[in-house]
Symmetry: C2
Amino acid sequence: MDAVQAQEILSQMEAKRLAELFKAFSDASRLRIVSTLIAAERNVGEIASMVGISESAVSHHLRGLRQMNLVRPRRDGRLVYYSLEDEHVAELYQVGLDHSLHGN
Amino acid sequence: MDAVQAQEILSQMEAKRLAELFKAFSDASRLRIVSTLIAAERNVGEIASMVGISESAVSHHLRGLRQMNLVRPRRDGRLVYYSLEDEHVAELYQVGLDHSLHGN
């Protein structure tokens, strides 16, 4: 194995971290929640209504997404609005969707 | 829920399919295998040597990646070379890596 090849390989630590990121997207309900946040920020009630699952289920998934820095909260009075953390998150979702719908 | 909102939401079937795609990327060894294929096609022996796992483990992961249309084989005499299925796969890996390394 030469130096060039070695550089190309993801380290075990990087690979583990990246696997955790993809794992955070490996749930259909989470992806449907993410899909509601592509165009706008939403509160838990709005997301629950759009996705058709309970508010407590939405909150559970949002906690997981927050732990992975994929969504961020913004408090507005009594409501908390969630948005995607950055454009990387929307891009990851979109690239995956393109492959999933058209790539195979 | 208005029509615009409804359009934004991923259907359950689309979400399930997309979740399977991300799940295929949710394993550190698989991601290290994918990382060896970013720059060039490789055979099983080369991948095993680069990643530092057995050829049978590499073959197992390649089967999983093939089932998800993420890699494709090319036979050359007695050897089979693997490459990423299309540029979407490399893009998905790269966007995830950018977020994983710098985004949080």
